[in-house]
């Protein structure tokens, strides 16, 4: 199957790209195309014009900035993030996530920005980025706005990004505690995934704060507030019992779709299994004390 005919443009600046998409009709940004081109070939997405952003300088940088934030250019491929030394050192969970997204062909050309903008509920990166409290930088005709990763995906295959807004950067504070991510998949995409990020006090004995996100169950990653509350200020050695005490309540609050990935009760159960496995890992790698 082939896509309907379209024009192709490769601007070299963000301004030109935004202008190109917005001009008329329904142009779309394009980088890896691993989702977009498939959808166009299946003719579920129609577009007049593809604006290739691979000619724009600087959209594939990864660095630790002066504010101790990690910046990832939206056009970074999964493979690049997986092998990046900064990510490997500071967020090994993200490195390993990116090393296992989809398949090697997707990882070689698919980008993290494209993954987020597609809004696919059964995806790996959105869950972990939400747990990392990432902020997404969107540049549009009327300027720049920064939105929390939690708010970016509105519902299934729908984000808050305007068609002529370009996602340029993903920024999140350099973690100061263990970050863990697990998924369960039996097929192409994850059935459920759980990401957890702790910030730990200097003595490595107490959790100052925790962000826990469960993905793929509803239309977008969901926080496990009850678990986050239970973990806040908790000595690491008390984590297991604290989570066990609230786990059922926490899981019951999740919105869970029945779909081809399984029944709601099964996937809810899996979320609990993955969370507990993340906890064990967090205790062993980060909690230390």
């Amino acid at each position: 199957m082939l896509p309907s005919p379209f024009e192709f443009d490769r601007p070299s600046t963000i301004e030109d790209a935004i202008r190109g998409v917005g001009e008329s009709g329904d142009g779309m940004f394009y980088s890896g195309g691993t989702e977009l081109l498939l959808a166009m070939k299946m003719r579920v997405i129609h577009t007049d014009r593809l604006i290739d952003i691979k000619g724009i300088f600087g959209l594939n940088r990864i660095c630790l900035n002066e504010a101790n934030d990690i910046e990832i250019g939206a056009r970074c491929t999964h493979a690049k993030i997986a092998s990046d030394p900064v990510i490997r050192e500071h967020v090994p969970a993200l490195s390993s996530l990116c090393a296992n997204v989809a398949n090697i062909r997707v990882r070689s050309v698919g980008t993290i920005g494209g993954n987020l903008c597609f809004g696919e509920p059964h995806a790996d990166p959105p869950t972990l980025l939400a747990a990392l409290n990432a902020r997404l930088v969107l540049i549009g005709r009327d300027g720049t706005r920064v939105v929390p990763a939690d708010d970016f995906i509105r519902s299934e295959l729908e984000t808050i990004r305007e068609p002529d807004e370009l996602l340029t950067l993903i920024v999140f504070p350099c973690p100061n505690g263990p970050v863990t991510y697990r998924r369960f998949k039996h097929g192409e995409r994850p059935s459920v995934n759980v990401a957890m990020a702790w910030s730990i006090d200097a003595g490595k004995a107490t959790i100052k704060g925790a962000r826990v996100r469960v993905g793929a169950l509803g239309s977008r990653p969901q926080p496990l507030k009850v678990v986050e509350d239970a973990l806040r200020g908790l000595p690491v050695r008390e984590v297991r019992s604290a989570i066990e005490a609230v786990l059922t309540t926490a899981l019951d609050e999740l919105e869970v779709n029945e779909d081809r990935h399984g029944g709601a009760d099964y996937k809810r159960h899996l979320a609990g299994v993955l969370l507990l496995r993340n906890v064990e890992e967090a205790i062993s790698v980060g909690g230390g004390a």
Binding site: M1, L2, M42, H186, G187, L270
Partner: protein, 752 residues
């Protein structure tokens, strides 16, 4: 030897394939060729009210649009039942059925214009599952059944008039009721098996060139002579005017056997009298054919010592909207649910039914995985019920070498106990299992329909090079490399001297087709005969010209030894013919009368397999891991070890797909995962880290050097072996495939 020489020695086609030079149908271009795009039915079962092609026709570059009205007069085609129109005429019977073909200058134009074809449907009552199709008042998917006796297989279908049952096969031995009345224990189980996609890497692609009274077709067909025959009958062309050319084929697994989209593409070419190419996408091929799903009830009666007294099985197979070879699948499923056991009293009944879903088709060991899934899971249930070890229960009941499993089938030609022992030893020889690891066993003996009809031509050239021409298709299994070796061994020449031609029915002699594990044996024998015929001719030439006794002559590499000297082929032809040119053409034929009728009895050999799976279950998620698997087959003699092991491994890995991943799912007839994204097959990471292939060779097969056929057996034991491991160690019995994590988890929940 360099790595590439090494690869060429194993399979001459490998270098071409890994370097991308191998040409498949989709790589070909015929001068003047147009492109077709198929408009498919979104309806499950509906009357076609109208088809409006005017908007599509008005698009620049669109040449024509083919619809049912154009071809209604040609009537229907089929290979067992004549039930299939070239393209939907007044009615569609499944989602995906071709309704129109837009023919255009480019594939892009054709596909874009296809969106403008407007078809109005009027929905009809439907039957989308076996159960719906066999209900008393079920809507009839076909009103009448026209049987073609002996057309493709020996025999035909046995349809039940005024029903959706298009074939029923029965076989009965002894008195099951009396045996059950005397039995110490009777156990009955029911199993189901889903539709499964062939998922060949190369989707169906065909070019047809209809010119006046002749038709040339380029197709990735496994059975080119069947394609030729159906096209000849359908379009009333002499067989000699229908030419089928098969370049490289990117996997078939039965999905390219019999006849698939060739009549449709030929019709498009007939309409515009220009070559037409239709290259389907993966999704379209998933909507073209699939393995038949099954619903199986099986019952065994045993005596107090655990000997099987009687077995009965009722199998219902979901044949989809058109029968194709579904009747043979049902018959084979019944035959494949028996052995390799001694069953003195037997009652088999297998029916294939029409449903409003994608048509069923042959698929690696037709009916085998469905039957063996049921019978081998059932064997462990019976063993457990009577308190016997499942391996002992099997050993006690195995038919021995030379014993008949059923009076009308050839006696078992191998030792099943040995085969089972070999897989068991494979594990025992390695490190001890941890206590969380479980293992399960299954065996199979199937009767390939390997139709002993084949011809081959072997030409020995003056320079010692050899050309082999057969209708066997190189479909990735290594058939052509095997034919080359057989010709080389027979003529005492190096394998590198032999070239096997890609199949072209204008050149290649008649053969039944590539499937049913028959090529090495049946086509191999005809190649051997043809090589012997060529040898005879060249030896005769030397005996005659040099005036030497024939007994003193023998073939050696590069020529013929007279005992005192070696004459090169060059010298022989030159002196015999007077010029420095020439060849001898050897012809070999195999018929049911060959070898004094020894090939006539069915099956030609028993295709046998044993599988032992070691599994570890993540009880929190239900996920099954298979760290070790051992697969054994009695293949008589190995001709090409790398290729033979590859066939065994490939079949087993396909079995892992059936066991753990695959099901082509329908919701009320609507396919819901017929895309490569939603349909999950095993990846290399799903292959057991320890995988043993054991090929038993006793040189006792009917093929060249005592070879038997292979390549379909290893798929069979995988699912029941895994299920039996789940049963023995985790206490759960899964009765429908695939064994997904969720299914396993739910069974574990129910248990505790």
């Amino acid at each position: 030897m360099s790595a590439t020489d090494n690869m060429s020695a194993v399979r001459p086609d490998l270098i071409e394939k890994v370097t991308g030079r191998a040409a498949y149908v989709t790589d070909l271009a015929i001068p003047g060729m147009l492109h077709g795009f198929v408009v498919r039915s979104p309806a499950i079962h509906a009357r076609i009210v109208s088809i409006d092609t005017s908007a599509a026709r008005s698009v620049d570059g669109v040449v024509d649009v083919l619809t049912g009205d154009d071809v209604a007069s040609f009537g229907c085609w089929g290979v067992v039942l004549k039930d299939r129109p070239i393209i939907a005429i007044d009615r569609v019977r499944y989602v995906g059925e071709p309704v129109a073909v837009v023919i255009a200058e480019t594939i892009e134009i054709a596909e874009n214009a296809a969106e403008l074809v407007n078809v109005e449907y009027d929905e009809l009552p439907r039957a989308t599952t076996i159960q719906e199709a066999i209900m008393d008042n079920a809507p009839l998917i076909h009103e009448r059944h026209e049987n073609l006796e002996d057309f493709y297989f020996k025999g035909g279908a046995r349809p039940t008039q005024n029903s959706n049952v298009f074939h029923t096969y029965r076989n009965s031995v002894g008195d099951v009721d009396a045996a059950e009345a005397a039995a110490a224990y009777i156990h009955e189980d029911r199993f189901t098996f889903p539709a499964i996609s062939h998922f060949a890497m190369e989707p169906h692609a065909v070019i047809a060139d209809f010119r006046g009274d002749s038709l040339t077709v380029w197709a990735g067909a496994q059975t080119p002579t069947a394609v030729q025959k159906v096209l000849s009958r359908l379009y009333q062309l002499p067989l000699a005017k229908v030419r089928v050319i098969v370049p490289f084929v990117g996997g078939g697994f039965g999905g390219k056997a019999s006849v698939k989209i060739e009549p449709l593409v030929a019709a498009a070419s007939w309409k515009v009298q220009r070559p037409i190419r239709i290259a389907q996408s993966m999704i379209e091929s998933m909507l073209t054919c699939r393995r038949l799903g099954a619903d199986i009830t099986i019952r065994t009666a045993v005596d107090a010592k655990g000997r099987i007294l009687a077995k009965s099985a009722k199998l219902l197979l979901d044949g989809g909207a058109y029968s194709d070879t579904g009747s043979a699948v049902a018959t084979k499923a019944a035959n494949r649910i028996m052995g390799p056991y001694v069953v003195p009293n037997l009652r088999l009944e297998a029916s294939a039914v029409y449903t409003n879903t994608i048509p069923g088709a042959a698929f690696r060991s037709i009916g085998g995985p469905q039957a063996v899934w049921a019978k081998e899971s059932h064997m462990d249930n019976v063993a457990s019920a009577i308190g016997m070890d499942p391996a002992e229960f099997r050993l006690l009941n195995f038919a021995s070498r030379g014993e008949r499993i059923r009076p009308d089938l050839r006696a078992l030609d191998m030792d099943m106990g040995e085969l089972m022992g070999r897989v068991t030893q494979s594990f025992a020889a390695k490190a001890q299992s941890s206590n969380r690891r479980a293992s399960g066993l299954a065996v199979a003996a199937t009767d390939p329909a390997n139709t002993p009809i084949s011809n081959a031509i072997v030409r020995l050239k003056i320079d010692g090079s050899i050309l082999v021409s057969v209708s066997s298709i190189e479909i990735g299994q290594g058939a052509h490399a095997t034919m080359a070796r057989i010709a080389a061994q027979t003529l005492k020449q190096p394998p590198s001297a032999v070239t096997v031609l890609r199949t072209d029915t204008a050149v290649a002699p008649y053969d039944w087709g590539t499937g049913a594990s028959r090529s090495t044996v049946v086509v191999g024998l005809s190649v051997e005969n043809a090589a012997l015929d060529a040898a005879d001719q060249i030896l005769e030439m030397v005996a005659d010209v040099w005036e030497l006794p024939r007994e003193s002559l023998s073939l050696v590499e590069g020529g013929i030894s007279t005992g005192s000297e070696v004459l090169t082929f060059h010298q022989i032809f030159h002196r015999a013919l007077g010029v420095d040119s020439g060849e001898v053409i050897g012809r070999g034929a195999i018929t049911p009368r060959s070898k004094k009728g020894a090939l006539a009895e069915s099956p030609l050999f028993w295709e046998t397999s044993a599988g032992l799976a070691e599994i570890v279950v993540d009880e929190d998620t239900g996920e099954i891991h298979v760290p070790r698997y051992a697969s054994a087959a009695d293949v008589g003699r190995v001709i090409n070890r790398v290729a033979a092991e590859g066939q065994d491994e490939g079949a087993a890995v396909m079995g892992f797909g059936h066991a753990l991943h695959e099901a082509l799912e329908f919701e009320d007839g609507q396919p819901i995962n017929a895309t490569p994204i939603d349909y999950s097959i095993p990846r290399i990471s799903d292959v057991p880290p320890v995988f043993d292939t054991i090929l038993v060779e006793n040189g006792d097969g009917p093929g060249p050097g005592g070879a038997k056929g292979m390549g379909e057996g290893a798929i069979l034991p995988v699912a029941p072996a895994i299920a039996n491991a789940l049963f023995s160690t985790y206490g759960i019995r899964i009765t429908d495939l695939p064994m997904t994590p969720e299914k396993v988890w739910r069974a574990l929940q129910k248990r505790s």
